[in-house]
Amino acid sequence: MNREKDMANYTAVFFIFISALLLLFPSTRIAQTARIFCSYSLYPSLHYGSKYDHFIRNVPDNFLNILKTDQENRALTVRIKELEISIKAAEAADEENRRLTSEMGLSRNIALKGVWARVINKNPQDWYGAFFINKGAKDGIALNSTVVGFENGRVGLAGRVLEIYQDFSKVLLITNSVSSVICSLHGANFEGLAEGRGTWLLKMNYIPEGSAITEGAEFVTSPGGLLFPQGLPVGRVQKVYPRESFMNFITADVAPAITINALKEVYVVKRDFPADLAVIQETLKK
């Protein structure tokens, strides 16, 4: 009995010590290695679970889809021809836009090229913090890639890639408490910092006092923020708080442009980061 008691105490001390090490020194090599080791050990259960679950769930729908596909195929063939003409016109406009932007030296705007990914897991313990998508290093996903979502034809910023594995990645949502995005209003000459709060709302901080900001105004990613492409809708102002006596800026509640927790698919933007950020990326990889 005493031996068992000693064993229990030693084991408890051992595991508490390990946990404390991981908690207190999260950025050390040992903690990072432990994290990566755990992630890769549990990786098959996540990857194969999502893969086969998707097929099993969709079996009845797939039969119906085959019948619909043939009809859609005919209609789409006609539509493609129409769109090809539109694309040619759009390419010319895009080329002109790039040329003018480059000549004016205004921005580093980029076309949003990337890959579609399916959301394969959301953890209720971290509902507003992160989710997993089914695209990873194999699909060319890079660290800090921008993740956008679509809802009823609207696009909105969802977050950025936080961790990458071979076949899936973890996305840090903009609603996560550690997340922040530099935003601006269309046509306004000020910026604010949209910070996640671990709830469905964002907190917009550092809006200069006296800025023309009203409820319903839409914030988009700012060219001042290097991490995200500019112009992506972040959210709409829901409530503006008056300036407190001890602050020299005003704050606002912002509802994300899309319902992030209802996303089933997302679009991961692939782009080359500016040179200054690319250096940091490389350092992080090492």
Partner: protein, 159 residues
């Protein structure tokens, strides 16, 4: 052989948790199967193994989350140790006591995790919805998971 069985049981619990939270969570709320498994393992298994189960189940949740890595591991290790102390004085084999234990320990572990997170990372991860709903869901689930774990112990000598 038993070690392989334990690893399989661990992975199976993880897969079921993963599947449930992906497909069956209602308005973002779902019972925490990993918690119920850690609780059941702590009741059934011998102390050292119960602590190991608690630690590794915690690591699994830490891996899925984006906050402090190691916080759940510490929480569940302490929970397993607490149960080891408790089960010498209380009967935790009956379903009713498991319901009460799961309800209480969910609240305590959530608050402990919250405290850790606020202290070490200044992050407030507590969602009121989860805090209000999860203890009830976990309390309902705990006897079911315990039953399956007890069967695993009896038939395959796991845990």
């Amino acid at each position: 052989m038993r070690l392989i069985g334990d690893i399989l049981l661990y992975l199976l619990t993880g897969i079921i948790y993963w599947w449930w939270t992906t497909n069956l969570s209602v308005f973002g709320a779902a019972p925490n199967i990993v918690f119920a498994a850690a609780l059941s393992a702590a009741i059934i298994a011998r102390p050292a193994k119960a602590l190991a189960y608690g630690f590794f189940f915690g690591i699994y949740l830490d891996m899925l989350g984006s906050n402090l890595f190691g916080a759940y591991a510490l929480t569940y290790t302490l929970m397993a140790y607490g149960i080891y102390i408790m089960k010498r004085h209380l009967d935790l084999v009956s379903p009713f006591s498991q319901v009460v234990a799961a309800f209480t320990l969910t609240m305590i572990s959530t608050l402990f995790y919250q405290g850790l997170s606020l202290t070490l990372a200044k992050i407030n991860p507590l969602q009121l919805k989860a805090f209000l709903v999860e203890p009830f869901l976990n309390a309902l689930l705990a006897p079911v998971v315990f039953y399956f774990f007890a069967q695993f112990k009896r038939r395959f000598d796991l845990l």
